[in-house]
Amino acid sequence: VTSVLIGPRRPEQLDDLLAGADVELSEDVLDRIDEIVPPGTEINPADNYLAAHPALENKHLRRR
């Protein structure tokens, strides 16, 4: 990862986010995260950020 877009709207949000800049998560924490959301998966596949192939949303494209 080259950079992270954080998108703060208020100065206090920026301060809050910048506080995490130098934090390195421990192996234990990363392992725990892997247990909650396994690598390569996501919690909510329905939230595709408007980037799904049209055939997933239009049955006529799938069935022609």
Partner: protein, 213 residues
């Protein structure tokens, strides 16, 4: 680094969106005018356009690079296979290629780890992740169901849908995040590193160790 995007709808007309050469020529002029600049450092395709050949899009974008209006091009929220297709198309036709990908990435959205990240690493692309707090789910404060994103994609925030982040009426991800909030917004822990001008975006530079983790 001044970066902006094209391809999301900018009007009611079907031609005011996507990756057609016709629209790209207009969109970039509109962006330059609105931004009050004569060139853009990084011009990104906001979403895939499955109605336009990616080679045609790359021809139009390469023209912009050659004209000096754009210094580098990138893509955003592209699937791995389309990134590969775009690189093959660029190589075949001697066109400029996407130097960056901007994917969604957070503790709860890790899909890119299986394809997009390895592909980007292979091609030496920069990765600029968005949504580190998952549209508010991980902020521990906001109500994502009433967010701007929720108005765009209400189905994504309907807690009654199976597989959603928790049973109807509860908000467990936010609850869990409250405890995690001060650790990091980013699964790798390497968050918020700003991109230096001409720095990590340089395609000839290998990604830093541990990148794209």
């Amino acid at each position: 680094v001044l970066a902006t995007k094209f391809a999301m709808p900018m009007g009611a007309d079907d031609n005011q969106r996507g990756g057609s050469p016709r629209w790209i020529k207009r969109a970039v002029e509109n962006s330059l005018r609105r931004l009050g600049t004569d060139y853009i450092d990084l011009y990104q395709m906001h979403r895939p356009d499955y109605a336009t050949d990616i080679g045609e899009t790359l021809v139009a974008l390469s023209d912009l690079v050659r004209e000096g209006k754009v210094r580098a091009i990138g893509c955003s929220t592209f699937p791995a296979e389309l990134i590969v297709e775009a690189h093959w198309a660029a190589a075949r036709a001697g066109l400029h290629r996407f130097r960056t990908e901007q994917p969604r990435y957070s503790i709860v959205n890790r899909t890119i780890e299986g394809g997009v990240l390895p592909v980007a690493q292979r091609y030496g692309m920069g990765i600029l992740t968005y949504g580190p707090l998952a549209s508010g789910w991980l902020s521990g404060r906001a109500d994502p169901a009433r967010s701007h994103r929720a108005t765009l994609a209400p189905q994504a925030f309907d807690l009654a849908i199976p597989g959603q982040p928790g049973p109807a009426g509860s908000r467990p991800p936010a609850h869990q995040a409250r405890r995690r909030r001060r650790t990091s917004a980013h699964p790798s822990g390497h968050c918020l590193r700003p991109v230096p001008p001409g720095g990590d975006l340089r395609p000839d530079r290998p990604p830093p160790a541990g990148a794209a983790r």
